[in-house]
């Protein structure tokens, strides 16, 4: 009975951390960017206000759209939440860690993207098609790069289950300083930038048709549906940052259930996440957006780095 209660509490903690801090991370990145550009910028709590406002607003649906357009926001949230159950944040192993692994995470991300890209085509708008086409093309390189870079870390633990991998890494910190891990980290960082639609791959703040990717795809969405899509995107950012944090710097992660360990873990997690968020803001501020057809070069770099890190592990071992 106590076991069930602990698991339920852990589950709620895991979901709450991601669902509730997701807008905050987005706010921190925005604020940091503004400060670097000598602006005051909106409050870091602004994304919460945006989401609440959007949740209250009416939804405008294109006359050309099919049921898929209204179905996608719900599916997107659902698939993102399944991912959240599988990617450890402050405690490993997660209660439901055995239902899936990193391959499931990658493919659930792909599931959300698949439907979002279809929804982009649904309204018959040129913008939507443009966004969908670009998003799927970029994803076709980013997705394998992501899987490979995580595999390179996962094989050290002999499992693709993220909770097991993270737990085993945090108990043997020496294995973190491994050449294949460094390559994998760089690859996964580039993947994070691309997957979350950041400069230099995509610009989350533009609505200029020449450059936009993700924003073009969701251009037809408004009101509550847009809130769901934005929220899912923010949660995706948290998922990627926790992957980076916990696969490469799992120091401080709670592996046993005591208030002290969990407390330390939450503090460490928030600290590491903030550092990474600031890092992403720095990358965004110091780089120009790449021309669309230069983007594949960057992504191919990530893909090759990830492949090299996996081969390196296979050849020289841990």
């Amino acid at each position: 009975m106590q076991n069930i209660l602990t698991n339920a509490l852990l589950l709620i903690l895991q979901l709450a951390i991601t669902i509730l801090t997701a807008p905050l991370i987005a706010g921190i990145i925005k604020k940091t960017k503004a400060r670097i550009q000598n602006r005051r910028g909106p409050s870091i709590l602004q994304p919460y206000a945006d989401l609440t406002k959007l949740l209250k607003k009416e939804v405008v649906i294109s006359e050309n759209a099919s049921w898929l357009f209204s179905f996608t926001p719900y599916l997107l949230i659902a698939s993102t939440l399944v991912i959240v159950l599988l990617v450890p944040t402050v405690y490993a192993p997660l209660p439901f860690h055995w239902i899936g692994d990193i391959i499931a995470v990658a493919y659930f991300l792909a599931l959300g993207r698949f439907f979002l890209a279809l929804a982009g085509l649904d309204a018959a708008s040129g913008f939507g098609g443009l966004g969908s086409s670009r998003e799927m093309s970029i994803a076709s390189i980013v997705e394998p790069a992501m899987m490979l870079s995580i595999f390179a870390v996962a094989v050290t633990a002999g499992s693709t289950n993220l909770s097991i991998v993270v737990r085993s890494l945090s108990t043997t910190p020496a294995s973190i300083f491994n050449p294949s891990h460094i390559l994998a980290f760089v690859a996964l960082f580039i993947v994070t930038i691309a997957e979350t639609g950041r400069i230099p791959v995509d610009n989350p703040e533009t609505h200029l048709e020449l450059t936009m990717i993700h924003e073009a795809m969701i251009l037809e969405y408004s009101g509550r549906y847009l809130a769901f899509i934005e929220w899912a995107a923010q949660m995706k950012m948290v998922v990627f940052l926790s992957l980076l944090v916990n696969l490469f710097f799992p120091i401080g992660l709670a592996t046993e259930l005591s208030p002290a360990a969990l407390g330390i873990s939450v503090v460490a997690f928030v600290g590491k996440m903030t550092i990474l968020a600031v890092g992403i803001a720095l990358v965004e501020s110091t780089n120009a957006k790449l021309r669309l057809f230069r983007v594949p070069d960057l992504l191919m770099t990530a893909f090759i780095l990830a492949l090299l890190s996996l081969i390196l592990y296979f050849i020289i071992g841990a």
Binding site: L55, S62, S66, Y74, A110, L111, A124, T160, A306
Partner: protein
């Protein structure tokens, strides 16, 4: 073998024209398929093989059948799809009533099933090869069924040439086996094969892989496939792509695992290399294809590649002695056989429904069909999600198993394995991502947006039998994804017995959870994922209600920068959609563009722009065209001998006689 007489009966009934013929023919083939399904299920569940030897009617005593676990698995897969396709054909075939000889079609259809069943249950190579050849010829007639289309005739010719090259290679393989063991019978071959020298075994391996590979459609032997699949009526396309090309996989597994046993490591490496190239090139060519059925045909090449990744990894790990992982890899490959049959069958049937409604296969002329064909579009979407290996459907499960088998292979000490495995993993991941992009294009352009032609605008939904058949297959995609235990209960013992480790469960089940015996901490519970996905979809509904009350929505025009009306031509096209991928992989595509702009009044006002892109298919240009030129020049040389004068022929006979006397004396 209860179902064969029934099918023979169906052939007689097919002589009656039109509706009763169609009904009787397809209902009987439906019943035959269901019997086949029950039979293979009972063999799988009981674990006993079925042997039937008909009274000696031929000198070689060849009419002997054995349905063991391997046969039963392929027979079950074929019968399942066959049942769905027969149901579909009831509604689909009347389209041909006034155009074609339907009776002939039903005859060929049922002959195809008969030969398929004989092929999969034959217990010796004479019967096997006989069924193989009759099946190939039946397919040839089905490809040229719409013989007034030049494309069908060309596809048929290409098919029959490639198919016979394959049969010739297989005959060589079978004769080598016969010379070495003195028998065509599988049981004797299985026991006698370990006496064969390694060199000869390798020759047998190469013949097997090439001969069966032609049927399976591996790159570079695939060229017939994208021509033949679209040329046939859609129910036959589904059958060919779902079942017939899998007979190639059946042959490869039968000979390499069941009869020959473990070989050197390079066998596995070669199969993996071919598998990877097939998968990546298959999906890349599919991305550039705008003919819906050709697109699906290229995806068959891709999926044969994925199946062969499992089979190749099994060969590789079997030769390095890692039997548990080899069993896992074989399970992955064979599971994908079943899954591909289900979702590709579904997709071809869906394409058939689209073509029936719109009379075009060109997706650039479609669009908006989700409203006109709601059921077809929903079922096609299930197939598209499944083939893109997205969870929680069946394609994901078999790709997951393939990934796991490859990742667990790193324990091998050889450098070549250590390089081959990560590269295969990388390209499998790439294939999956590209397949998703391709099906966003295929589904999005065909079913979403606005209709791009009046044919698409006037489309009507298909009859209920067709929809029911697609529904069954769509359900199959969900069930085989959510409850993998169904397939694993057959595949665990099968892969164990093929690799000589009978009691190993490479993938064990604990409740709904799959666990790998090679890596105990890796697990997957697909049905829970499905449940969680459904449950979590409720969360945003609740969140919305709590934060903002009931959902208010309004229908409005799509935003098009203030232009008054949105026209279908303003939508993204399939060509436009896949352009970024064409640029990224330009080294592979070698695309040639042609842009023609006509100017009437001034350079600023262009009434017409013609844009054409052609892709160079590397193997056709660099392999087949030179080979064809070679054959033709040899033929031209040969023509000189054919003078037409009787005295020169007499001279030839005389010369040959002298040569023979000299050679034997």
């Amino acid at each position: 073998m209860v179902f064969i007489p029934k099918r023979a009966l169906a052939n007689d009934a097919a002589i009656d024209r039109a509706k009763t013929g169609v009904n009787v023919g397809f209902i009987l083939s439906l019943l035959g398929s269901l019997t086949g399904l029950l039979l293979s299920l009972s063999i799988v569940l009981s674990g006993h093989s079925l042997h039937v030897a008909l009274p000696q009617t031929t000198p070689l005593g060849v009419m002997a059948f054995t349905i063991d676990q391997l046969s039963a698995f392929f027979l079950g897969t074929g019968s399942f799809l066959g049942a769905a396709i027969s149901l579909y054909s009831l509604g689909y075939t009347p389209e041909y009533f006034h155009k074609r000889h339907v009776g002939l079609f039903i005859l060929l259809y049922n002959t195809l099933f008969l030969t398929l069943d004989v092929l999969l249950s034959a217990s010796n190579f004479v019967l096997f090869l006989f069924a193989w050849e009759v099946m190939s010829l039946t397919i040839y007639f089905l490809i040229v069924f719409e013989h007034d289309h030049a494309a069908s005739r060309r596809a048929g010719f290409l098919y029959v040439v490639m198919s016979h090259i394959g049969t010739a290679i297989l005959t060589v393989m079978i004769l080598i086996l016969f010379v070495q063991t003195g028998s065509f019978d599988f049981t004797i071959l299985r026991n006698g094969s370990h006496h064969i020298t390694l060199t000869l075994k390798s020759v047998i391996f190469l013949c097997t892989f090439a001969g069966f590979g032609i049927k399976a459609g591996i790159v570079p032997l695939h060229i017939w496939l994208p021509e033949a699949h679209p040329a046939t009526p859609s129910n036959i396309s589904a059958l060919m792509s779902g079942v017939i090309i899998k007979t190639g996989i059946y042959g490869i597994v039968r000979v390499l695992f069941d009869l020959l046993g473990p070989g050197p490591m390079w066998w596995g490496i070669l199969v993996l290399a071919v598998a990877v190239v097939s998968a990546v090139l298959g999906v890349l060519y599919a991305l550039m294809e705008h003919d819906l059925k050709r697109l699906l045909a290229y995806h068959s090449i891709e999926n044969i590649g994925i199946i062969l990744m499992g089979v190749g990894a099994a060969l590789l790990f079997n030769s390095t002695g890692n039997k548990t992982v080899a069993a896992l890899a074989l399970i992955a490959g064979l599971y994908h056989v079943l899954n591909h049959a289900t979702f590709k069958g579904l997709l071809f049937l869906g394409a058939g429904s689209v073509v029936r409604a719109t009379n075009t296969r060109n997706i650039e002329e479609l669009g908006g069909l989700a409203r006109k064909l709601p059921w077809t579009s929903a079922f096609f979407l299930v197939g598209a999600v499944a083939i893109s290996a997205l969870p929680p459907l069946n394609g994901f499960i078999s790709e997951w198993l393939t990934f796991q088998a490859l990742l667990l292979g790193f324990t091998s000490a050889d450098l070549i394995v250590k390089l081959a495995v990560p590269v295969t993993v990388a390209l499998l991941a790439l294939t999956g991502a590209l397949a998703a992009a391709c099906f966003v294009k295929a589904y999005g352009i065909t079913f979403l947006g606005m209709p791009r032609s009046s044919a698409a605008d006037k489309a009507h939904e298909s009859p209920r039998t067709m929809l029911a058949a697609m529904g069954v297959l769509a359900l199959g995609c969900v069930v085989l994804g959510a409850i993998p235990g169904i397939a694993l209960s057959a595949l665990n013992p099968l892969s164990g017995s093929l690799l000589g480790v009978p009691m190993t469960n490479a993938v064990s089940l604990a409740g709904p959870t799959m666990m790998l015996s090679a890596s105990p901490s890796t697990s997957m519970a697909p049905v829970l994922m499905l449940a969680l996905l459904a449950g979590f979809a409720g969360l945003p509904i609740v969140a919305g209600l709590v934060m903002g009350g009931r959902l208010r929505s309004r229908i409005a025009k799509t935003w098009v920068c203030g232009i008054e009306t949105l026209r279908p031509r303003m939508q993204y096209t399939a060509t436009g959609f896949s352009k970024p991928i064409r640029l990224i992989f330009s080294a592979i595509y070698r695309a040639r563009h042609e842009i023609e702009i006509s100017e009437d009044v001034s350079p600023y006002f262009k009434p017409e722009i013609r844009y054409e892109v052609t892709m160079e298919h590397v193997f056709e240009e660099k392999l087949y065209k030179p080979a064809m030129r070679g054959v033709l020049s040899v033929a031209r040389f040969g023509r000189r001998l054919q003078t037409g004068h009787i005295q020169s022929y007499l001279a030839y006979i005389f010369i040959i006689l002298i040569v023979l006397l000299w050679a034997t004396g």
